[in-house]
Chain length 110, copies 2
């Protein structure tokens, strides 16, 4: 996972681990505490903490202390670089999938 000169691990590295992608997926639905997140994984809680830190340092999530809990919150805009990079390959997909994606995007706004 490449660390950029400003010591911020890049987003592509952060999402390269399936557990971290699943964590982001969980945070799409709602903000969640560490224990809530850890409940979805078999690894130890410190391991979850460490993954969350990678996401935090990549700017993909923020944390907010609420009492003794720590609530993690998704920052989807930080996925921009991935979205932009993959968009360069847009022309390679067929129209059907493209329309499907657009409809999904449209529907979720309604």
């Amino acid at each position: 996972m490449v660390v950029t000169p400003d010591r911020r691990p890049d987003v592509f590295g952060a999402i390269s681990h399936p557990a971290r992608r699943r964590m982001l997926d969980l945070l799409v639905e709602a903000d969640r505490s560490v224990n809530t997140i850890a409940g979805h994984f078999q690894m130890s809680r410190p391991a979850v903490s460490q993954h969350l830190r990678v996401l935090l340092e990549a700017g993909l999530v923020t944390e907010q202390r609420r009492g003794r809990e720590r609530c993690y919150h998704l920052v989807p805009e930080r996925l921009g670089p991935v979205r932009e990079w993959i968009a360069h390959y847009e022309r390679f997909w067929d129209d059907r999938l493209l329309r499907l994606q657009q409809q999904l995007a449209k529907r979720s706004k309604e």
Copy 2:
């Protein structure tokens, strides 16, 4: 870079290294030989070979022997998982960027 049970390194791992993403970007324009690709990087040629192998094993490229050269060819469909995953976050982008992306996609088809 997580290796899936079938020993095929997953696509997210393969694209987590900036050099490998640049290699894919180069192959969008045209199929290229190893030396042509290596010319764009400062690392040694074997290092380039090793990166290409990661891409090959992830199914993101194919190779074709042409005389003593080896031509690498992009397989953009294999980026599907990335595209699909990022599409889950589609609703978070604003309309302007969405339309821009759609126009780019449309224009490249004309």
